[in-house]
Amino acid sequence: MIDYIEKTLMDLSKYFRAVYFSEDFSSRNGFIQKVNPPIAFLVLISFIFLSILVHDIFILIILYTISISLIVLSRIPLSYYIKSIAFIPLFTAIIALPYIFYPFSQPPFIYKFSFIGITYQGLRYSSILILRVTIAVSFMIIIYYGIGFQRLIGSLKFLKIPDIFLNMISFTYRYIFLIVSQVYDIFLSRKSKMCKSNKKIGRKWQSYLLGHIFVRSSVLGENMYNSMVSRGYTGEIVPMKKNKSMQYNDIFFLAFFILIIIIAFVHG
């Protein structure tokens, strides 16, 4: 149990390190990077909502293809994409697994066991669920990697999202950076001192660790806030003002994708 918790925490911190501390793809000369960030954000978020509303598998597959094409065109390495989402469709597949037997014992069956069977309807439901989640996460990846965190905050500010909400996102994001590295270092230091595992000591250590992380995060948070205040932070979100004025290609991008979204919505 202890090893399991430890392994989960360690893997989580490794995951965050690998995914969130990656190279900055938002400064690359890619497709999404060239679009005005608020416009790109609006279109991408619309795709996410669309994936939730559409019921047609064919349309969902098209949406997934669009997301992959945008990832490639935005010069986001597919390896990062896979690393970032790998476990999410897998996790959804586990949740959706019982769905393949729906409705429980009524034909048409694809494959029948003794009294239950995999039904067409069940398979369709579970495929839709997995596709929806995968598409939504794929577009989120494009938002995160393609637009970049600071420009994303700038876009949200532009879209009149209240500062309090943006502050919460910014702080959470910044704390994750610090806490993940702290947790990782604490684990490594503990590992270096462990010769053999002792469950009793292990349990004790887990509770110390949680307390320590809590205290550390509070101290770090305070110091980080002080450092922000020291550099002029007054509680107001000041985004990077790199949002250029709207260009013709932004209007074309907006019109083209809105058209796709409307067609997909009508047909899906």
């Binding site: 970049g148 610090l178 980080m224 002080n226 550099r231 002029g232 000041v238």
Partner: protein
Amino acid sequence: MDLYVLKNVSFKYNDNMVLSDINLNISRGEYLVIVGPNGAGKSTLLKLLDFLIPPSRGEIYFDGKKVEDISNLKKISPYRRRVGLVFQDPDVELFSPTVYEDLAFGPLHMGIDDDEIEKRIKSVSRMLRIDHLINKPPFYLSDGEKKKAAIASVLTMDPEVLMVDEPTANLDPRSRREIMSILENMWKNGKTIIITTHELSIINSMVERMVVINSGRIIREGDPKKILEDRDFLQSNDLE
């Protein structure tokens, strides 16, 4: 006229007296080093000088004006933009996805326009030789690189006063030399430099005045050369 005047400043944290009756004047363009053992109150003093915490007692004057109501961030902003503090732990200074965004944070909050910010980032990162790190996440930087990036994040604000808390902590000899030489250059360019340290070896001939604090009190101040020669004094204050 003195840039800073501290009159009987004390700072209490819970029931602990961290600083007691600090009387200190700091001139414009001075290179001052505050020396003291661990827990002497050096970092707290810098936070007071950066108007991050209010004194529990006493008064702080900056450029002839009494500094009050520091909890009002907008009101204190004109003072704070003239002062830059580099924290001891660079991790708290580097909180953005990339070094570039960390360097832009200060000037952005000062309302400086994009082109000027870009210019400052380029010039500061070139000066500190971190231009190749600019698009990297701070997380992957070495300790020395992080320290330089933290200093750069304050220098882009172009502050009149540069304060660095333990500039050489956890650094290798080469990085130490580089950081100290950056500070010297800043001082030669007319900035007021205030550093804290417990490492006497980094105090060089450039330092004009040394203030020794222990247990929250100033116990000696003056010519660094003379203080450094007084071995008995240094030993009795856990500085050697």
